[in-house]
Amino acid sequence: MELLSTQVEPSIETPGNIRCSARIRWGLTGELSLWVDVPEACTKSLSETGNPWLVAMLPMAASLGEDIELSLPVDALLLENVRGVMKIWKEWYPELHSVDIRCPVKGYAEPKSTRTATFFSGGVDSYFSIARRMPQNPHGIPAVGKVDDLLTVWGFDVGVSDEAQFRPLVGMLSESAQRLALNHIIVRTNLREVMPIYRKQWGPLTHGAGLAFIGLMLERRYGEIVLGSTYPYGVLSPWGSHPLVDLLFSTSGVTIVHDGAAMTRIGKTELAARLPETRRSLHVCQAAGLHNCSRCEKCYRTMIALDILGLKEAFNAVFDWSDYTLLKVSKVYVGGGLQQIFYKEMISAAQVRGREDVVKALRYSSRRSGRLAPFVGFAEQLVKRPIVWRLGIALRRWLLSGSIQKEYIAL
């Protein structure tokens, strides 16, 4: 893979934005155009190195087994770190390749910025990171750092062309940032559109690299970029965002912080709930744009946690509790893999708080999901095959009829 050229020009698609784009050659004849739009005010913050492009290209190069070539200089620490990333990925997924990287090397220079940004989707992880980065806050939450900017990415959870879904959501997030007295920056990218590995392997492999790509695109503005953890220490397994890997996307000038893995999800929810803004604006749902649908697995996961914590009332503004019942909790389809971790945490928390009714419903859901998972997995395999894919869809629908399950905005 080769970074052929980069260009910075006003964005036609996103008014008031500057587009930083790159032409990337791959395979024998393949070529793609990857771009990132940032507000004009951030023009001076745009990276002039090969750092973000290297991070963006890495998963695709590792899956194709193609060396990477860049004419832009890459930070010496990042170049070292990327070797580590490849070693870890190869250990997790032996089908991936270790590739060589040919580029000029940029040695350490005294960092210029001490600004901190955190990614902001409006979910539990975002508010958890923010809540602990408000020094001297009146809510009694001990600060572990500070934050200056909130970064929202258009093109990751919501499709890069889906303006109808993104605009209302971003409006809500901007209002929330304003109330928190924090700067809100919206970055738009076609990364998931032009590099299929960022669509197909987002969860298990590329999630952290995608976020680091965005962070490093603004590397001249930041000393630290915070991204919320997914799974907690003690139960870590190969995943696209992981404390070992995310940190390795750091350069000698910008540290990528994998934040909050010392806490369980329910622990994060409890702490984030102490921030009034969370009670007003929490947005966890990927099924609908502006509001939480209060029907999907992601909404239910958070609602169950709030119920266990005795915070149903406090979150009346963000969830519709009228349809929430423990019978439905027992019908949540958790899947058979890593997702079970969150539910096991909730069972422990419910036990500690004497919520035997929730424990019973969650146990039922966990057992039911465990039994269903292999059949759902089989149906999902069928969906990927020609001729029988319709049968796969029908089988999956039948197996999960009546279940609370994951729903996503189509990318």
Binding site: A76, E80, K87, E91, P135, P142, L248, T255
Partner: protein, 409 residues
């Protein structure tokens, strides 16, 4: 488990040093007086928080299952991180159960720009870390950061009462730091005396190293922004160990980052870079057997010497070792004991193959086969050594099995 007293006074044991002392009480009647000596010039940087003491107490508290109580405030991020450390240790060693920590919390505050330090024992890892932290160096090694101070700990690799051995080593390290234009300081602590009270097998290597280095780092937390410690195992080959990139970083606070440096490199890659760093050519010290020089006969020396040999750096490193004691034939008797030894062995084999050193490859393959046969016997002899009455027999058997030109340290 309680931490009650914290005082700083002149050290009677180490002239020119200030001693910070804390008392740890546990199991109703037991107590331990933990101290750390820092040079008087650094007294103003001595920590006033509970951070360092918390790091020091953590392995003992988990091993005996007692909650920790500290009257001094602990940094909010460290307190969160320590939960992560406990979750990881519990995953690795299920007998260690997370405990509660009761203490006042200190929240983040902006701090003035501080210095960077790196731990410095004079070995491959130390020089590898330093070599990449000299911006604009004349050796063409790209800098990944900068370093101001080099810290040597007296009480970890060299025992806290081994004065002669430490002074020889310190003299050499100070000279080397001077040549590098870097500041050097020694910190002395009796932390490892606490090991005798910790009911956890092979505690230092499996658990305590990161907490120990975290403790020493946090003692001078007012001076530093970042402290680097050299990695042991490389990414892709990580296993539960006393120093680990996940755990070490978790001894960071909101104002001091503990940096696990160099895990993207295998040991032979590190060794190769060190050979290209002239200040290490005369001052490299890898030996646990001797204080001021490399004995060139122990397994640690031999491992490093054969790597240099396989990489073609024997001539470059002629001053660091007594090469008259080195013979490729002797490698056949190299005992590969642990999984870590096996990884190093296969890394060196790979390098030797790449460089056409079939003699080293053959010798290491022989050593590997020989070690497979020896390992259960050595284990048996170690078991005998710890049994009452027959322990002498075990010691003899062990000596007999490991007899050869390379000393196992």
């Amino acid at each position: 488990m309680k931490f009650l007293k914290n005082s700083a006074l002149s050290s009677s044991d180490s002239p020119g040093y200030v001693r910070s002392v804390g008392k740890i009480y546990w199991a109703d009647e037991k107590e331990f007086c933990l101290w750390v000596d820092v040079p008087e010039a650094y007294a103003e940087f001595l920590s006033e928080s509970g951070n360092a003491w918390l790091a020091a107490m953590l392995p003992l508290a988990l091993s005996i299952g007692e909650d920790i109580e500290i009257g001094l405030s602990v940094d909010a991020l460290l307190l969160e991180n320590v939960r992560g450390v406990m979750a990881i240790w519990h995953e690795w060693y299920p007998e260690l159960k997370p405990i509660n920590i009761h203490c006042p919390i200190k929240t983040w505050e902006p701090t003035p720009v501080k210095k960077n330090a790196a731990f410095f024992s004079g070995g491959i890892d130390s020089y590898f870390t330093i070599a990449r932290r000299i911006p604009g160096n004349k050796y063409d090694i790209p800098a990944v950061d900068k370093v101001d101070d080099l810290i040597t700990v007296w009480g970890f690799d060299v025992k806290v009462r081994e004065k002669n051995q430490f002074f020889q080593l310190e003299k050499m390290l100070k000279k080397s730091a001077e040549c590098l234009g870097l500041n050097h300081l020694s910190i002395r602590t009796n932390l490892r005396d606490l090991e005798a009270h910790i009911p956890f097998n092979d505690m230092w290597r499996r658990l305590g190293q990161c907490a120990g280095l975290g403790f020493v780092s946090l003692v001078l937390e007012k001076r530093y922004k970042k402290i680097s410690l050299g990695s042991t195992k490389a990414f892709g080959n990580l296993t539960p160990w006393g120093t680990h990139p996940l755990v070490d970083a978790l001894f960071s606070t909101s104002s001091l980052e503990i940096d696990h440096d160099g895990a993207s490199f295998t040991r032979d890659q590190k060794t190769d870079l060190v050979a290209k760093f002239p200040p290490a050519h005369t001052a490299l010290h890898v030996c646990f057997a001797e204080g001021g020089y490399n004995c060139s006969q122990c397994d640690k020396c031999y491992r490093t010497m054969m790597t240099f040999d396989a990489l073609g750096h024997r001539e470059t490193m002629k001053s660091a070792f007594d090469w008259s004691k080195y013979d490729v034939k002797n490698i056949e008797k190299f005992f590969i004991k642990s999984q870590g030894d096996e990884i190093y062995g296969s890394d060196i084999t790979g390098v030797a193959k790449l460089n056409g050193r079939e003699d080293i490859v053959r010798a290491l393959c022989y050593a590997s086969r020989r070690s497979i046969v020896l390992r259960p016997l050595v284990k048996f002899s170690e078991w005998l050594s710890s049994a009452p009455f027959i322990w002498r027999l075990g010691v003899r058997l062990n000596q007999l099995l490991l007899k050869g030109p390379i000393r196992k340290i």
